[in-house]
Amino acid sequence: MSQQVLDNLEIAASMGTYFIPTVSFNAATGECLLEGESYHENTWEFYKRLMDWLNRYIAEVKGPIHFTFKLTYFNTSSSKCLLDMMRLLQEYQSNGGQVQAVWYYPEDDLDNLYEAEDFVADTGLKLEVVGY
């Protein structure tokens, strides 16, 4: 049996007991959006789905990635997972993959800006940082 074609990954944001960000990863265009607040019951499980998708996209589709990070809150467990995700993007970038990554932060939230700077310092990912 041949492997299934990579589907889009869509997760709707929700603010219930936990805070789930919007996830919209497009397998045809490589447009990836992660937006909102991130605090989970099982953080690793949540981000594993995203990492699995990205790993498959990189291995099978081998297309460009345009990643938009627009997170207004994330706890420390999410922060660790985001670091892994940025490492993966950087690896793809340094292996010749076309990666354009943008981090949006609210202009009055300097902590959020520092987080972006720290991700860049830790991973070497070319990350455009934009205040809004």
Partner: protein
């Protein structure tokens, strides 16, 4: 020590209704209770945009520590929730978030060492330290990412104030207070 006379419900009510008290809670810190309190915090400190965000972030990390690490547990059905006490107060210039829970005496030294190390660092050093902790593997006893307290000190910009009261041969009461300065008042001109 508390006075010999019994605390009346009215006195307790007055204590928790003090004008400086924003949130007070004692009991099991479950995920549902955490999310309810976090919503309440957002509503009540939302006017100070920056400080409000910081209070919220500090609350999530510290409440989760109680949920994960409190040595006092409430067992209900298949759940096993950490018990603790949470208090958010305000003065004119700052919010103070305090939390307390039982810890096993055998973990006190490690906890104090970690906190003293955090308190010995300035903001730049803390940022470096957080990056080192985040980049490495999670510590052995950690159920989270293992740098919650470092992040709390970094977010608040103030030292962690801690206290231990030994209760018996097994347990101590651990309390932690952190101050978050309010946003500077916008000029009235």
């Amino acid at each position: 020590m508390l006075p010999e006379s019994e605390l009346t419900l009215f006195e307790y009510y007055n204590l928790t209704s003090h004008k400086n008290v924003i949130i007070s809670y004692k009991g099991p810190v479950t995920d549902v209770i955490m999310s309810e309190i976090s919503r309440d915090i957002r509503v009540k400190v939302g006017k100070d945009a920056t400080a409000g965000r910081k209070v919220f972030a500090v609350f999530i990390e510290l409440a989760q520590n109680i949920l994960y690490y409190s040595a006092e547990k409430v067992k209900f059905a298949d759940r096993n929730d950490g018990v603790g006490i949470l208090l958010l107060t305000q003065s004119e210039t700052a919010f103070t978030f305090s939390c307390g829970n039982l810890v096993e005496n055998q973990h006190v030294e490690e906890l104090v060492g970690g906190i003293n190390l955090i308190n010995s660092m300035d903001q730049e050093q803390l940022r470096e330290y957080k990056r080192r902790q985040r980049g490495g593997p999670s510590p052995e006893r950690s159920k989270g990412a293992g740098f919650g307290l470092t992040q709390v000190a970094l977010t608040s910009g103030n030292p962690l104030q801690v206290d231990f009261k030994k209760i018996d041969d097994l347990f101590s009461f651990f309390s932690l207070s952190i101050k978050i300065n309010k946003d500077s008042k916008p000029s009235t001109t």
